[in-house]
Structure formats: C-alpha cells, structure tokens
C-alpha cells in the first residue's frame, strides 16, 4: 500500500462533481456521478472499458460538455463557464493522453516549447530553455531533447507527454490510461514518475486505469465506476474486499487467481 502523504488536504477539494449525467444518443454513460478530488491526492478511477472513465476526465478538462449536473474545478463551475475563463482554467489542468498526443511534426524540444511560448509570450530564450530542460530532467529524458516523436518508444512518448503538461506547472493532473500498452518494467517507471510528479509539483491527480498494479502503486484513494456511477471507494484493500461479481474479476485477472 502507498504511504499517506502529509501534504494532502482532505478538507480542500479542488474538483467537486455532483449528479453528473452524460449520454451519447441512447447510450447513457454517466448516471449521477458524485466525486471529490482533494488537494495533493492521487485519485485512481477504475472501471471496465466503455464505462465512461475517459469521458469523465474529458468533461473535467472542458473537452466534452455534461448533459446535467455540476462540475466545479478550482472554484469554477464548468457548466456556465465562458470560453475565455475555460481557456485560463485549462492552464491549471495538465492532461496526459492515452496516445501521448505528441505533435508529430515537431521535435521533443518544440513539443515542450509550443504551449509555453503561447501562454507566456514575454519569456526570454534562456528562460524557455531552462523550463524545457527542467521538465525533461524531471521525466529523465534530457537526452531525447532533439529527437522526433517517431524516434521514441511508447514509454518515452508517455514521459514526454507528461513533461509537456508539467511545463505549464498545472495544479491538477489528469492521466488517461498512463500504463496502457506498456511492458511491466516501463509501467513501474511510469507509476514511479506519477508519484514523483505528485511529490515534486504537489499536484492533485486523477488517474484513469484498469491496471491494478498501477492503481495500488499510485493511488491514495480509489474509486470504481460501476454502471455509470461510483459505487465503491476507499483504499486498494477496501475496494477489493468484496464478492461483487462486477468487481472480483478485476482483481482475479490482474493478480492471476
């Protein structure tokens, strides 16, 4: 089990979601989701494929609109937020995509500089270089600074994707399947990096995954999305202390029982 960090403030939610509903046509994905993310914590969201985990964090990042309910991020209600306020709010949210979403036509350096120079136009070349080198050191990939994304491995791409979000110094990190498609050793490295990001940048994070090793390693708290809402939450042992047929196969499969 992961040790409890003393900087987590369980009386200070940074994301508050109440009675959130989202459908695509006749498909009702989220059905009355309630969720709090507290300052400094790593919250793992578990659930089967297609249960709406990614939809949930895309709503939090303002990429999708909720049908009903309230989503409050750092004090801003996303339901009636103006485009300008949403753009400003997004700078405080880092989103690590499942596919890494690196810009193929740019080198690693250009990928990292791209959001930075647009957000902060007054930065001098020296400050930009320092910021780029700083985040590349944080993800331990300084040697890849001039490589193209196509020259990187899956794990390296994930790390650069995380570095690109860190360069804007976000308060909240959203990880969409950070270990999907990676070998076990690279998974361990990514899990370690997620914990390092939490310690070093004091970010509050939501980690979407169905990799239980990842959940156990990075999660301060775990919630499980079942039938469109969160029915189970707690630490790793509390979540899987059940005979619920919707939950038990998760554990059995991941730990080969």
């Amino acid at each position: 089990m992961k040790e409890i960090k003393d900087f987590i403030k369980y009386d200070e939610p940074v994301i508050t979601i109440r009675e959130l509903y989202k459908s695509f046509g006749d498909l009702h994905i989220l059905r009355g989701v309630n969720l709090d993310l507290y300052r400094g914590e790593n919250l793992v969201v578990l659930g089967r494929s297609g249960t709406g985990k990614s939809v949930l964090i895309k709503i939090i990042a303002g990429l999708l609109q909720a049908d009903n309910g309230s989503v409050e991020v750092l004090g801003h209600n996303l339901i009636n937020i103006s485009p300008r306020d949403l753009q400003a709010l997004r700078l405080k949210i880092g989103f690590s995509f499942q596919s890494s979403a690196l810009y193929d036509s740019m080198t690693v350096r250009e990928n990292l500089e791209f959001p930075l120079v647009r957000v902060n136009k007054q930065l001098r070349r020296k400050e930009i270089n320092e910021a780029v080198i700083g985040v590349l050191e944080a993800v331990d990939l300084l040697q890849s600074i001039d490589q193209m994304p196509s020259e990187l491995s899956g794990g390296q791409r994930k790390r650069i994707g995380i570095a690109r979000t860190l360069i804007l110094k976000p308060e909240i990190m959203l990880y969409d399947e950070p270990t999907a498609g990676l070998d076990p050793i690279t998974c361990i490295e990514i899990n370690k990096l997620i914990n390092q990001v939490q310690d070093r940048y004091k970010t509050s994070s939501i980690i979407i995954t169905h990799d239980l090793a990842c959940a156990k390693s990075v999660g301060d708290r775990i919630v499980m999305l079942l039938d469109g809402s969160f029915e189970r939450q707690g630490n790793f042992d509390e979540i899987f202390d059940t005979e619920d047929p919707r939950v038990k196969p998760f554990y059995d499969y991941n730990f080969i029982k």
Partner: protein
C-alpha cells in the same frame, strides 16, 4: 431510412456553415499565428512549384499544338498568341492551378488534420490553452487563399512560355513580339477576375480540407476518408464556383 439520410445531410450542412462562420469570426481577431501562416505558405506554395510548373508548361505546349490546325484552316495562325493568352489567363490557369492544388494541398490538409484529430493532438492543443482552430484552420485557409492566386499567375506565365516554345518551333515569332501580342489581347480586368476567382478557389480548397480533417472520426479509416473527401468536395465546388463566377463577371463593365 430516407429521413435519416436527409437528417444527416442537413446536420452536416449546418456543421459546415458553423465551421465557415467560425473561420470568419476568428480570422479578423488577434492574436495571429504569423509564423505558422508563413510556414503554411511555404508548404502550399513553394512545395507545389515542381508539379505546377511541369503541368503549366505542358498545358501551354499541348493547347497551342491542338489549337493551331483550327486556326490554320482560316489562315489565322497569327491569332495564336491572342487565343492562347485569353484562354490561359481567363480560364486555364485558374482552373488548372485550383484542380492541382485541390489534389495535392487539399488532400494533404485533410490527411494531416485528420491524423492529428484521431491521435488526440487537436485535443492536446485545446487542453494546453491553445486555440487549435486558429493555429491549424485559420493559418491554412489564409495560406491557401493567398498562395493559390500567386500560383495561378505563375502557372499562367509558365503556360505562356510553354506555348511560345511551340510557336517558336512553327512560326518565326520572336519572344518580344509574342508577349506583346499576348498582353495586347488581355486586359487588367481579365487578370483581376482570375485573381479573384483563384482567391475563391484557394479559400474553398483550404476550408474544405480543414473541415474534413478537423471533423474526421473513426480512426485511420476516417483519415483516409477526410483526405479523399477533401479532394472530391473541393473539385466539385471549384467547378460550380467557376460556373457562377463566369456568369457574375459578365456584369462587370470592360
């Protein structure tokens, strides 16, 4: 079934309308992505030069060769430079440039934005506080709208040179006399009309390519479809626009 198809068609039409309106809203409001616009102008303009030069030159030669017998029947070979000039400047150069650009540039834009969309790169821009519409769409549409008229003037010149090559082989006409006759046959109105026509064609190629790519879905299949539809749709629209603009230009006094 029919109602569903009609619904889908109308929804798509409304989405295209919204896309075009959004372009006009964003193109006149800063901040501008000048560096990206210049990069796109280079990609669209300079990188199309080899293909467009070859095509323009060949069209000039072939058109002259095919036109000569008809004029020769009336002993009017001397009218060749004037005929070529009017045909190339008024019709061939704008249309050929637009069709080649639709194939090369339109498909490139559709495929590029389509693959960016399916690999979540457009969403990545959005969550980084960057306006992807302005960076990707506005810059490309501005670049095609600027570069297609310039390419059209270049194609006209190359086609006229190709035509001269054929004329020089068959008639003893000097290049100075040839170009004097070429420019005597056309007016400023002809060049101006063709530039305006090319501007419309350039805008069409850019906006159609961007719309297809920016709204693509269904993974890699969607990327192929975006590239394909970008070409088919813009070529279709270019012919319709050609027809409409030619009718409208009749009302402009000489």
């Amino acid at each position: 079934m029919i109602s569903k198809t009609v619904d889908k068609y109308l929804i798509e039409l409304a989405e295209i309308h919204r896309f075009v309106i959004r372009f006009f809203k964003e193109v006149f409001v800063g901040p501008y992505e000048f560096k990206e616009i210049v990069r796109q102008c280079y990609e669209i303009g300079v990188k199309s030069l080899p293909l467009i030069s070859l095509t323009g030159f060949i069209i000039g030669i072939v058109f002259t060769k095919q036109s000569r017998p008809s004029l020769a029947d009336f002993g009017a070979q001397a009218m060749l430079p004037a005929l070529i000039s009017i045909a190339v400047v008024r019709a061939l150069a704008p249309l050929v440039t637009a069709l080649i650009a639709a194939g090369k540039v339109g498909s490139q834009i559709g495929a590029e934005l389509g693959s960016m969309k399916v690999s979540e790169q457009i969403e990545a821009m959005e969550v980084s506080g960057i306006n992807p519409f302005k960076f990707l769409v506005v810059s490309r549409v501005v670049a095609t709208s600027v570069m297609i008229p310039i390419l059209m003037l270049y194609v006209a010149l190359v086609a006229l040179l190709g035509a001269y090559l054929n004329i020089a082989q068959n008639e003893a006409t000097s290049i100075v006399v040839y170009f004097t006759e070429v420019f005597d046959a056309i007016t400023f109105r002809d060049i101006f009309s063709s530039v305006i026509k090319s501007l419309v064609f350039g805008f069409t190629i850019g906006i159609v390519g961007c719309y297809q790519g920016y709204t693509s879905s269904k993974g890699t299949e969607g990327v192929g479809r975006a590239a394909n539809w970008a070409v088919v749709m813009s070529m279709f629209l270019i012919f319709i626009e050609e027809l409409v603009i030619v009718q409208l230009l009749q009302f402009i006094p000489q």
